[in-house]
Amino acid sequence: MSRKKDPSDQPFRDSPAELDKTVHGNDEDQGLLTLKRLIYRMPDREAPAGLTESILSALEPKNVPGWLRFYRWVLKPRTVTFQPLKLIPAAMILVLVLAITFQFIPWREDPGYMDPRQANLIPVTFTLT
């Protein structure tokens, strides 16, 4: 049997027991806190030596189909990390590219569009004979 945690550790610093203590209030029954500390420091029994080897010897290599591996890959959550400072030059280049793109797009006017100021005017056609 081994002791998992050294009693000289600062017990419950940021641990669940400490959190619970906060939740229930600081004047919580001292008995409960003692129990939490005892459970925290309760010695563990060591697993028998050779257990890992005996488990591994009983296992056959897995042959998982490719589609299942792909499905699991799709399901896997991912985290993206970035430094905003490093993003600034990239963002400026992107803005520049967009600005140039919009500048040179040949905008064509809609043929059905009519200026509202001209809506009351009657079109007149002059014919030279």
Partner: protein, 192 residues
Amino acid sequence: MDGNDEQHCIDRVLRGEVNAFATLVERYQKPIFNLMYRMAGSSDKAADLTQETFIRAYEKLERFHPGKRFFPWLYSIGLNLARDFARKNTWNPERGSTLNPESLSGCNSPGDQHERMCESLEFLRLEKALDELPVIYREALILRYHDECSMGDIAAALDLSVSAAKMRVHRGLDMLREHYKGGTHEPQKRSL
């Protein structure tokens, strides 16, 4: 080992690398063995049940949802196995005392020895009080205060909602206090 490392190991196992599973076994064999010891009351049976838990987890590994924590999933497999075992077998503990002479050998002074003995007796009393609790409360307490699991992990391991897990820990603590204070001398009963 964090969640990403675990996921990496699982991916390797699914690609056919059996040895990658060793990392997970070594990481979690102790809490699973201790769970089984509490349930079976004997080292040999606990070792068998621990082995069976890992083999079953290996067989079902492709069903493990990527992104979830591995330990609660493994614990729930172990707990189901342990419950099956407890239903089929009578509980006959070989409970070794926490008070063993070897633990006192490193003590320099009689004062240290006395302190260590008192501590061992406290642990013995605690183990007895925990044994008297229904499994669902005992395991919630062990997961929370010994293995330092989050409420989310406890809920996943015990197949509960988070609020039910909180309730279970809270009630378990109250029950444990009663048993610990009372120090009942009734014969131990196992309630699942």
